[in-house]
Symmetry: C2
Subunit: 279 residues, 2 copies
């Protein structure tokens, strides 16, 4: 199956980390909408700076769909108190996401607790933490999207590193839990197609795009624009669409030395061009 | 099962990339032996500079065991001619490794061909390339050790990124093909224990150690000394030893900004100290 070419921007969303440096949330909501982009994914630091109620109003006024709030998760911690605090922080994130009518709360689950080498233990803490929030999320009607992060972030950001692990968590946790698939994190996985099929439409809550630059100057902040790297994005899109995914395609680019140094309008214009040609 | 503490250096090997900058191969062979280390793994650039016959004589004179030659592999390429050239280069590597009586030829299988985004195709090229060398290796009595590299190298160095993939290749290729397990590359893998068990003693041809620093300044050249990172090396060692692995423990540290800037004797002294305490 070949992915059908994209012909308009009705399913384009911009994760606001893409204009992290240039714009405030207020500027993003107006700026994206001005450019004909009506999907946005919002990071909590900007949301807090704006205020949730004000943001919700702005989003409505500009006909914006919130394709995700970033981020919940970060469950593993050394002490029971710290793990409890993480769970409570996730409850607040769920409530904020619900107030924005977001399509999901993205979970970056967290890595190893400080000084720990016990990755199996960290993975258990993730499961325990999710058990502590899933009922709150269901009551709020807020889907939880586990985002498997690239294995190079296993220690410091997320010990869930494959779609297979995310599917395993979904199996255990049940209703209201799905997956945010970011091509940057999973493109290398030889099981990717199989695990997308295993996830199916119900679990595929978000589809994030950018590209894998080669060589990469920074493990975190050197993501590439779609088309400037080695990821076969149309192929992966064809796999999620074969499962019935009809949601947004969310551009998320952390790029300290390149895109964050350009005017936001220019970044968005390139996102739009590439969206129609290489996604 | 807990790994038994290591009490002597009879199974310690140094991959000579660890003293890449400081010493020639001649200096390494004499220098390691002088410090009571009688295992060495040798990169082909240094081997070529020394000459294979001379190296073989020096190794005998100093009672050194060659735990691996680095490296064969690098199979994917755009043209048929280039892929054929890669196979022929592997034949030469096999012959050189045999002349050194090495325990294995380590295979870093290669990433995407230039301008390619077809990782499934690259993986097929790896299998094809290995079919082209396995008989030559058997006739030379030289075990081929597929080294799964961390997924962050999938594009540029190796599209075999998990022990599971390496085991799949072993299943297809049969006798004479095994795995070089480097903790740096596989520590994050939730299937690691299972895939070590699947490999079993016969396939476990080499065990490489270093550590995963956090944060890491360079994706290639900032590996940490054992104990300076997050990898539970004794745990992984206990898993390979549970399968009956009794081979060497080979230290391989690429460290442009730290260990390569220190005198080789100091680096080796720290390797020895850490070997008895954190491995």
């Amino acid at each position: 199956m070949i992915a059908q070419p994209l012909t308009d921007f009705s399913r384009l969303s911009i994760n606001d980390a893409t204009t992290k440096v240039q714009w405030t949330l207020e500027e993003e909501i107006r700026g994206y909408a001005d450019m004909g982009i009506h999907g946005i994914s919002i990071w909590r630091d900007k949301l807090e700076a704006c205020g949730v109620s004000k943001a919700a109003q702005l989003l409505r006024d500009n006909n914006m769909t919130v394709t995700g709030v970033c981020r919940g998760g970060m469950f593993p911690a050394t002490t029971r108190e710290a793990r409890k605090a993480a769970v409570e922080d996730n409850w607040r994130a769920i409530d904020d996401a619900a107030q924005l009518n977001a399509q999901c709360l993205v979970l970056v689950v967290g890595g190893l607790p400080e000084h720990s080498k016990d990755i199996a233990g960290a993975r258990q803490m993730v499961l325990d933490g999710m058990h502590g929030i899933v009922e709150h999320a269901r009551q709020a009607g807020m889907p939880l999207a586990i985002e498997p992060l690239h294995p190079m972030y296993a220690a410091d950001r997320a010990c869930v590193n494959t779609m297979g692990q995310a599917n395993d968590l979904c199996d255990v946790l049940g209703e209201g839990v799905g997956i945010a698939l970011d091509v940057f994190h999973v493109w290398w996985d030889p099981e990717l197609k199989k695990q997308i099929q295993r996830a199916g439409k119900e679990r595929l809550l978000a589809f994030h795009i950018c590209d894998w630059r080669m060589p990469m100057s920074d493990m975190l902040l050197d993501r590439a624009m779609m088309g400037d790297g080695v990821i076969d994005i149309p192929l992966i899109r064809s796999w999620v669409e074969a499962e019935g995914y009809q949601g947004f395609h969310e551009v998320e680019i952390f790029s300290a030395d390149h895109w964050w140094k350009k005017p936001a309008e220019e970044v968005l214009q390139v996102c739009k061009e590439r969206y129609l040609t290489v996604v």
